[in-house]
């Protein structure tokens, strides 16, 4: 379990993190969201024991990150922001160095190194020095060192930054696979990632937690929650359709995209407008290309909360 209580970090004039409290339990994948400079990295650094909190406490698997720092670090796999490592080292030597410091015995070290090399597709670069690698490979080397000892807790600062879509998919699959028995905290500003891997999201802005919920519940805060989007075959009837949809009593507002010939009808609070709209389309004989119900837009919630 990860537990933080009233965690604060102040630099002279600047408050980086203020009164952050949360708990994370095994099986949870917590996504840390927030604008740049909101305090995500500082919070993660305090959990990893790299930054000392000004006040408040944090513990990992029951070990306080300050008073039992070594025990806390042993239960932790940590990918720092930007995946720093020793540039002049070869990938194989670097991973071996980390595995040795993690006290893996010979057989287990071999098995774990084989696993991470296979899983993160590092076989082709093992004998290259890290400084010659592309950003994507460096990130994967950073991930490999974080999971090589199979820790119960993983803290990953932007694990998919710099990866191409295929690599992102691979890393997310890996996170989902590990999620069952581990506690995982990731930070990201890619909102689709939250949908893809997180069971819970904390939004942090100006050092404070401003939302702590499941991704579905967060999306439900959006004004697009239960909105209905319909795309017409042609633009000719767009204006007439807009007027008809806007006239429905349960519809709060209608947004129009001329280019796509698309209408998005926003419901009044709590209303279900899909039946009304499909009924209307049938009655008016609108030629629909597409009709769907939106679950809400995380990016819109994110902007509303953190602005």
């Amino acid at each position: 379990m990860i537990k933080t209580e009233h965690l604060c970090k102040r630099y002279q004039a600047l408050t980086a993190v203020e009164d952050v409290s949360f708990e994370v339990h095994p099986g949870e994948v917590l996504g840390f969201l927030g604008p740049n400079g909101a305090g995500k990295t500082t919070t993660m650094r305090m959990l990893a024991g790299f930054v000392t909190p000004t006040s408040g406490r944090a513990s990992i698997c029951g070990h306080d990150v300050e008073s039992a720092a070594l025990a806390a670090r042993q239960s932790l796999g940590y990918l720092p922001e930007g995946a720093p490592s020793y540039g002049e080292m070869r990938v194989s030597a670097f991973l071996d160095f980390i595995a040795e410091l993690r006290r893996l015995d010979r057989a287990r070290k071999r098995a774990r190194l084989d696993y991470v090399i296979e899983r993160l597709q590092l076989a082709s670069v093992l004998e290259q020095t890290i400084e010659t690698l592309s950003k994507g490979f460096r990130r994967r080397v950073g991930l490999a060192q974080a999971i090589v000892h199979d820790p119960p807790v993983l803290i990953l600062d932007e694990p998919t930054d710099g990866l191409d879509p295929n690599q992102k998919h691979e890393v997310r699959a890996l996170i989902n696979e590990m999620a069952r028995e581990k506690i995982i905290v990731i930070s990201t500003h890619i909102l689709e990632e939250v949908d893809a891997v997180c069971t819970r999201a904390i939004i942090i802005a100006r050092g404070r937690v401003v939302a702590d919920d499941t991704p579905i519940q967060l999306a439900a805060r959006s004004r697009y929650h239960n909105a209905v989007s319909l795309q017409l075959e042609s633009r000719e009837k767009l204006e007439a359709a807009r007027a008809a949809v806007a006239a429905l009593p349960q519809v709060a507002a209608v947004e129009v995209s001329e280019r796509e010939a698309r209408l998005t009808a926003l419901p009044r609070a709590g209303a279900q407008i899909l039946p009304d709209i499909s009924e209307l389309a049938r009655r008016q004989g609108l030629q629909l290309k597409e009709l769907h119900l939106e679950s809400g837009r995380l990016d819109e919630v994110f902007r509303t909360i953190t602005a």
Partner: protein, 244 residues
Amino acid sequence: MRNVVLILRREFASYFATPLAYVFILIFLVLANAFTFYVGDFYQRGQADLRPFFMFHPWLYLFLIPALTMKLWAEERKSGSIELLMTLPVKVWEAVVGKFLAAWLFTAIALALTFPIWITVNYLGSPDNGVIFASYLGSLLLAGGFLAIGSCMSALTRNQVVAFILGVVACFVLLLAGYPLVLDAFQGWAPETLINAIASLSLLTHFQSITRGVLEARDVVYFVLLIGFFLFTTAVAIDLRKAD
């Protein structure tokens, strides 16, 4: 202890991963020999000893050792790898000692590679090899002292050039602590005991007393304490300002 060895091994290998190791050893050997023969009048003196060789070591180390230590911690800060190292289950002192020992082992190798001059002097005459052995030991201790000072200066900054300059200045001051150049700054206002205390800190005095062939416990203890003090300060500097 295991962590110290692991860090020592990694650091030591990193010297040879770049041209640094080869450039350092080459320049050290060339300069050490050039000074001995051209400035130290090795032949003209007509004496079978290595005094002209060891007498220039403090001045060689003054610039070469800070060049070796400037990256110890400044580079870790600059590249961000300090965040990786300090979040692994490694104690700060283990990392400090491991890095220091790697640098010391490296200078020991550079020093050992000066053996042809020892063969030469034994070929030309019959020197007191006891004095030569003591001098090698003194030179190694002096290098250790400089390395510890350099390590401390490197821990204070993320800029390697700043670390180098601070290292040279700190080494220079401690080297000449017993000489007017340093003592004059205290003369006149500081009490006599303080001036004596500062004078007794002089690296050069202790080094010269060893190279005369008198291996006294107090000189060895001095170097051990000096190294211990600066490594302790390094650990404190790292621990207090890990993330800065």
